[in-house]
């Protein structure tokens, strides 16, 4: 699919590379993230990668007065996307995170998946996850994809979730970096929250107290 570029309000453009969570699409997101980070477009304030898109936030004063506004930046991006960018993408680090699988929702998750708690723990901890992007809270990493067998829906009502809690939502998993309301199903917790970057990989190591 050819990337589509659209306006996100009057001072940001989003480049959409696809509409599904997919490692090859995300690799392209990260390649372009590093391209525009290494060779920033004029007036760039922020580059925000997501599952299948990259958003560039501009200083509206700069792009409007000197570069024909967002329309001008859009055609500039099209030119840059047409050029292949072959620089090496920094390889994501592998974080091994000790996890105490004693979360308040572990029993309910096991029940709704028709599995035993031990099976949920085994399935969650045997896979290496990919960090797609950070959002929601400072340092919150959206990781996936979890095994189909432990796909669960979000809670109906958000609860207070503690810093270090590890949760599931849909086919994603994540660690709450700070105490916050949230709707994820909490299956475990950790006292080791690394500084994540998009593109990192994560494995959970089951531990006991």
């Amino acid at each position: 699919m050819n990337p589509q570029i659209y306006e996100l309000g009057d001072s940001a453009l989003t480049i959409e590379f696809g509409n599904e969570i997919n490692d090859s699409v995300h690799e392209e997101v990260m390649r372009r993230f590093y391209q525009f980070q290494s060779f920033p477009l004029p007036g760039t304030l922020d580059l925000i990668p997501a599952y299948a898109s990259l958003t560039i936030v501009f200083d509206l004063g700069v792009v409007a007065s000197r570069f024909q506004g967002l329309a001008g930046m859009k055609s500039l991006i099209e030119t840059k996307l047409a050029e292949s960018f072959s620089a090496v993408i920094p390889e994501g680090r592998l974080h091994e995170i000790p996890c105490l699988y004693e979360g308040p929702d572990l029993v309910a998750v096991a029940k709704s998946c028709g599995l035993s708690e031990t099976e949920v723990i085994q399935i969650h901890s045997e896979k290496i996850y990919h960090v797609y992007f950070l959002g929601f809270l400072p340092g919150f990493a959206y990781m996936g994809l979890t095994d189909e067998r432990i796909t669960v829906s979000r809670k109906e009502k958000p609860m207070t979730i503690q810093a270090g809690d590890i949760g599931l939502a849909g086919n994603q998993t994540g660690i709450y970096p700070s105490t916050s309301p949230g709707g994820w199903q909490i299956i475990g917790r950790t006292n080791s929250i690394p500084h994540f970057r998009a593109g990192d990989r994560v494995r959970f190591i089951p531990v006991t107290t």
Partner: protein
């Protein structure tokens, strides 16, 4: 500056700080960046200096040194030593002076910019003889919006309703976002979308058909359809609206949004220039 009594939500804030959104860290900053900049200009501060953003009931503060200050944004009947002082005007206060606000008159957030006067001992409150009146910005005109990526997910009748009706702001609104009180909008399709970046001014459409306008304290990403976007030039005006206030929206185009932003920035630059000149003349006359 010494805190005498804590306010509801008093925070030292600057313009938004960009560059860390890929770490999930939002730019944040003051809600009404226009009033923030006028206040800073009036006291001769730098563009990126912080000012005190206050909501009502606001805190009570005592100045420990001779200070130049300016009050901009919402009118909370600000007083120095219990005597009402004008807004949008530089004021010199002596050590020991107490700043308090009596009652909210208009707007939601007031900004106090301060600058310690190191080369001058002020003995009584002195209001300097120039002011900046930003009334042309804080009008009751409809808030201008641009269509969002998912604008077309709303039925045409609901689009018309959105553009013709007045909305009020829900009491649950805060610095992160304003929830609008309205009849749920009718959507065409319940297509799911992947989480992607959002900005201040993004109007999200919740599954219930309700709308939320993201404000200065917004998160970096979101998974709700992006129905529309408030233009940057109108965000300060929206920031001064609060629970119970009524709002109207009108469609505009990117060229107008850019033009209005440039106009606002040029005006702010002129204010900075004029204020810097006035302050330097004043200093010259004083010595």
């Amino acid at each position: 500056m010494k805190l005498i009594k804590k306010g509801l939500l008093d925070t030292w804030l600057s313009l938004p700080i960009y560059g860390l959104q890929h770490e999930g860290i939002p730019p944040g900053g003051a809600m009404d960046t226009f009033s923030l900049q006028i206040a800073n200009a009036l006291v001769g501060n730098d563009l990126y200096d912080k000012a005190l953003e206050m909501h009502f009931p606001s805190g009570i503060y005592q100045f420990e040194t001779s200070t130049l200050l300016a009050i901009c944004g919402a009118d909370f009947t600000a007083c120095i030593d219990h005597v009402e002082v004008p807004m949008n005007q530089p004021i010199k206060v002596p050590p020991g002076a107490i700043l308090s606000c009596k009652k909210p008159v208009s707007g939601q957030r007031t900004y106090i910019a301060i600058r310690p006067l190191t080369d001058e001992q002020v003995s009584r409150v002195k209001i300097l003889p120039w002011s900046m009146n930003p009334e042309n910005v804080f009008t009751d005109e409809p808030i201008r919006i641009l269509c969002g990526r998912e604008w077309d997910q709303i039925k045409a009748c609901s689009q018309q309703l959105f553009l013709s009706k007045a909305f009020s702001i829900s009491p649950t609104s805060n610095r992160m976002g304003y929830q609008l009180i309205q009849e749920p909008l009718k959507t065409l399709s319940a297509s799911t979308m992947l989480s992607t970046a959002v900005t201040a001014g993004t109007i999200q459409l919740l599954p219930s058909g309700q709308l939320v306008v993201l404000m200065a304290g917004h998160q970096t990403t979101g998974g709700y359809p992006r129905f529309a976007h408030v233009i940057s030039a109108d965000l300060p005006r929206l920031a001064q609206k609060g629970p119970g206030d009524s709002l109207r929206f009108t469609l505009t185009d990117p060229t107008t949004a850019e033009y209005e932003w440039i106009l606002e920035q040029n005006y702010l630059q002129q204010v900075r220039n004029v204020c810097a000149l006035k302050l330097s003349q004043h200093r010259f006359d004083h010595h």
